[in-house]
Amino acid sequence: MNFDDYRGIWIYVEVKDGQIAPVSLELLGAGRVLADKRKTELAGVLIGSGVKTVAPMLFQYGADVVYVYDDPIFEHYRTEPYMRALLDCCHKHKPEVILYGATPSGKDLASAIATDLPTGLTADTTILDIEEDTGLLLASRPAFGGNIMATILCKKYRPQMATVRPKVMKALPPDPSRTGRVIEEHIELHEEEMRTKVLEIVRETTKKARIDEADIVVAGGKGMGSKEGFQLIHQLAEVLGGAVGASRDVVEVGWIDHHHQVGQTGVTVTPKIYFAIGISGAIQHVVGMQNSELIIAINKDPNAPIFQSCHYGIVGDAFEIVPLLIERFKEEIPKLKGAHAKEEIRHA
């Protein structure tokens, strides 16, 4: 294997309902840094049906080149056709690095590609760097349930590949003046030969449950005592207009369903305000919320690790503090709204 034949940093771009997944834009931001260090091109690989139109967006967010496989057979993500397309692209254009979002389909695709090429694949990366002269990718990730961080290398194979956790890297501000080259590719695939078929897609999470998009998340833990006690979390979320989050232990005992779980095996959230109430602050929980703008902890144990990971903490009983909070917010928020309305009128 001659490493000099492998050039360029690639991002596998996910598109759903005509929208580029946020993680793909984040990866373009991270990939731009790597490409600049290596003085090479940053490419996006776009696979889908009717996806060509999003290419200009990828340029604005940092790509120099976009490879496009646009065909009805790619309407829904399926391992087989997507893998065929990406393998085709790899064999033709030989990248040195491919990054994927650590999303259900990104992980699925990356695992298949790594096995086929074969090459190394680092899972759930949270820190990325590259050696300028050798092109060695330094992919670091939490391991053993978040107890340690490890840097993983792939010295003898190219391309080097990693899946990268959503919401960790930063997208660049879009630059409307940036453009690039679109390279249209094609492979022969026939629907009759595909071994899987998507029969139906069911979207089931309501807006409220999408805690990864909420500005305020009120999360409760085992300290809420019972499903009834956990209602306080719902009530506080309600007055604040926020979403409800939970620790894994709460999900496990069935006080709330899995969509609400924050952490390593749940969702990663970065709201403007995160409340952790009756949550001990285990590392697996903290990794899912530590990038929130403002973290507030309420716990009756002054030694709870959550106080290490918050900006402000109250040592106290949630059953005394939270009802007080609810009451006070109920008084104050309408006043804010009123003041704002007056302000609007004055400006009008």
């Binding site: 391992t79 999303t103 259900p104 699925d108 990356a110 695992s111 298949a112 790594a114 096995t115 086929d116 090459t119 190394g120 694949l121 899972a123 759930d124 330094l138 939490p142 053993f144 349930g145 978040g146 107890n147 340690i148 961080m149 490890a150 993983i152 290398l153 792939c154 071994r195 899987t196 029969l199 897609i201 069911v202 089931e204 999470t205 500005d215 604040l240 899995h258 390593q264 403007k272 305000i273 285990a282 903290v286 973290i295 106080f307 290490q308 918050c310 900006h311 402000y312 903490g313 109250i314 005394e320 503090i321 007080l324 909070l325 006070r328 917010f329 104050e332 928020i333 804010l336 704002h340």
Partner: protein, 270 residues
Amino acid sequence: MLHIVACIKQVPDTKIIKMNPKTNTMDRASAPAILNPYDAHAVEEAVRLKKKYGGIVSVLTMGPPPAVKAIKKCIELGADEGYMISDRAFAGADTLATSYALTKALEKIAKQRPIDLIICGKMTIDGDTGQVGPGIARRLNIPPLTGVKKVVEINKEKGYAIVHRKLEDGYEVVKSQLPCLFTVEKDINDISFAPLPNMIKAARYQPTIWTADDLEDVDRKQLGLKGSPTIVSKVWAPPKPEGGKILSGTKEQQVNELLSIVLEKKELFV
């Protein structure tokens, strides 16, 4: 008669494991070895499918000799047969080398009894990758169905399976040819209590154990550390956060101070 194979792994319980702060290595003695929690759901699902459609459930693991205990746990859960591949040659395997060795073992099992379905856990709690299952599927050239949260139907005569695959905002209903491989989510089932006859069977059970030499057409260069493209170059403790400000005063004062901190972000409330 379905033949379902669940791939399972024995892992240290990373929830209670202690780390050596000097070397950043795990103190394995500090944590009991358990059946990977996600794999318990894989076995449970295999056993449920067996009860529904008739068939045989085998479990397969790659690991050191004590991993027999994890196989016994699967027998308690209702598995019929256990296979273990154990050899120094397998040590230090990353996901690529793991899926290679497991595939060789699956090929050997399939010679004795053709396999209709392979079920893996979503991920292991020590490796945390979820890459081994799709790797096996690729090597066997069968469709991988990751994130399965419900099995709707298995039809061996007509050769298909229909499942629900978890998506970020819902699920999709997928039909796949058999044989195929599932990786399963935790919410696919609740683990049943092991009935007494299973416990008795498990206590006496001895799995079939193979070394690298027992497997056929093995390319030794693809096994263990040698066959692993990824290397761990550095480990360090995750940075300790600095800690926040603890509010003081009476409850009412604390609540009022918190209120003013929160309401400072007034754009969120208007």
